[in-house]
């Protein structure tokens, strides 16, 4: 019996409409053998948390290019916790200024991946986190 499948939720919270990066990551994680629930654009934190619960995901990937990461990420974390899913990991992609990375990591974000980040590294990081 091989390792159990990793289930990942990829979501774009907020109003930004550029999803190419999110789709690239989704495909790369599929190619790494993961099951990727892709929820598309304009997700509210409530919708993301609801999907994370129904799909019982291991990790949530948030793609944020709007600059609203410091508002959106804590809200998603708060909602996951309220739903009893505090063990679900979070990683973030998109446009995140370097100076905000420590704050995000402090909240519990496991990885921040800017434009040009290697999708193989993202996949490897996730496997390390979930399989140990």
């Amino acid at each position: 019996m091989t390792e159990r499948k990793i289930r990942v939720l990829i979501a774009k919270p907020g109003l930004d409409g550029h999803d190419r990066g999110a789709k690239v990551v989704a495909r790369a994680l599929r190619d790494a053998g993961m099951e990727v629930i892709y929820t598309g654009l304009r997700q509210t934190p409530e919708m993301i948390a609801e999907a994370a619960l129904q799909e019982d995901v291991d990790i949530v990937g948030l793609s944020i290019l709007s600059g609203a990461h410091l508002a959106l990420v804590p809200r998603v974390i708060e909602l996951l916790k309220a739903n009893g899913q505090e063990q679900v990991k979070i990683f973030v992609g998109g446009i995140i200024p370097d100076e905000d990375i420590p704050q995000l990591k402090g909240m519990g974000v496991t990885g921040v991946y800017g434009p040009g980040a290697s999708t193989q590294i993202i996949a490897a990081d996730i496997k390390q986190l979930i399989y140990g």
Binding site: T2, K5, L29, E35, E46, Q85
Partner: protein, 315 residues
């Protein structure tokens, strides 16, 4: 509280976690299925199949919305949606993207959407889909919609699992009509021409009607001629009539005993699937690696035939 009793009391996190156990075929999952089994058997299982691009997910979204707020004054139903997408045979991964079309259902506590990957199964559903549906049934969802992969051919799994199977077509997807080409017309209880606002919709409908008449010549017996309905899933046009057709099919099944026939077929198939897997497991446990490879070597050296090899492999 056990996982199954939490599920029966309405705990949604417990439900989600149990679905994972069931999907991974764990002992915890199996025990919970045993406990939940007596509570299942009430839901109306609706299958939705059709080629990619026909708008299945959008249609499921609209139907679910309708069941949550029926126009005809009926009580709202709790709706579970199981959306199946294909696992890549090369990487073992999958993109499960059907939720993208179902954002209208977000925030509704009477709806539960679960995406599943086929994980190698070939009939349009995952091996664990039947068990997942059973969990939703026991948890009290009155309507369970199962959206299949929709690659076309060999989508027989859904015909066994669902009481009512919708086959969705759309105009302009090529000269041939996918349903007819693939032969899945036979499994349709209701035919839906979605994207009915597109050019060619009437032609599609006419061709389907002709094919149906050829396949089901009137013979005096009571039988079900699949109705053909037109919908525009993006704005909900035609959906109330579609729901009415589904309800009519349900009544037909219950009046003619067809409901019980399908239940029996489903349970018998489920039992036999588990039985075959269990028999193979037991056989495998009863034979040593050395014996197996010794017999395989004799086969490879053509000293025995495959049938003779099996005779020696069996106890």
């Amino acid at each position: 509280m056990t996982l199954s009793s939490s599920v029966l009391s309405g705990d949604r996190l417990a439900l989600a976690r149990l679905l994972t156990q069931v999907e991974n075929d764990t002992l915890v999952g199996r025990h919970a299925l045993d406990e939940l089994f007596p509570h299942a058997g009430k839901a109306h299982r609706i299958g939705v199949t059709g080629a990619p691009g026909t708008g299945k997910s959008s249609l499921v979204n609209q139907l679910a919305r309708y069941y949550r707020r029926p126009v005809d004054g009926a009580a709202p139903c709790r709706v579970a949606i199981v959306a199946v997408d294909p696992t890549s045979p090369f990487t073992g991964g999958a993109i499960l993207g059907d939720r993208v079309r179902m954002r209208d259902l977000a925030g509704d506590p009477g709806v539960f959407i679960r995406s599943m990957a086929t994980r190698g199964s070939l009939g349009g559903l995952a091996a664990a889909t039947t068990a997942v549906v059973q969990v939703f049934d026991a948890a009290g969802f009155e309507v369970i919609m199962i959206e299949t992969v929709g690659a076309g051919q060999a989508e027989v799994d859904i015909a066994r699992l669902a009481h009512t199977t919708l086959v969705v077509e759309a105009p302009g997807l090529g000269d041939d009509i996918q349903a007819i080409k693939a032969g899945i017309l036979e499994i349709a209880d209701v035919l839906v021409v979605n994207k009915a606002d597109q050019p060619g919709a009437e032609v599609t409908e006419r061709i389907l009607r002709n094919m149906l008449e050829l396949a089901h010549p009137a013979n005096g017996e009571r039988f079900w001629l699949p109705p053909i309905l037109s919908t525009v899933a993006t704005d909900g046009r035609g959906v109330p009539d579609l729901a009415a057709a589904i309800a009519t099919h349900r009544e037909f099944l219950q009046q003619t005993g067809g409901w019980h026939v399908r239940e029996r077929l489903l349970l018998q198939t489920e039992m036999e699937t588990i039985l075959y897997a269990a028999l193979v497991s037991r056989w495998r446990a009863g034979i040593s690696e050395e014996d197996y490879h010794r017999i395989l070597t004799e086969l490879l050296e053509r000293r025995i035939s495959p049938y003779q090899a099996v005779e020696r492999l069996l106890p």
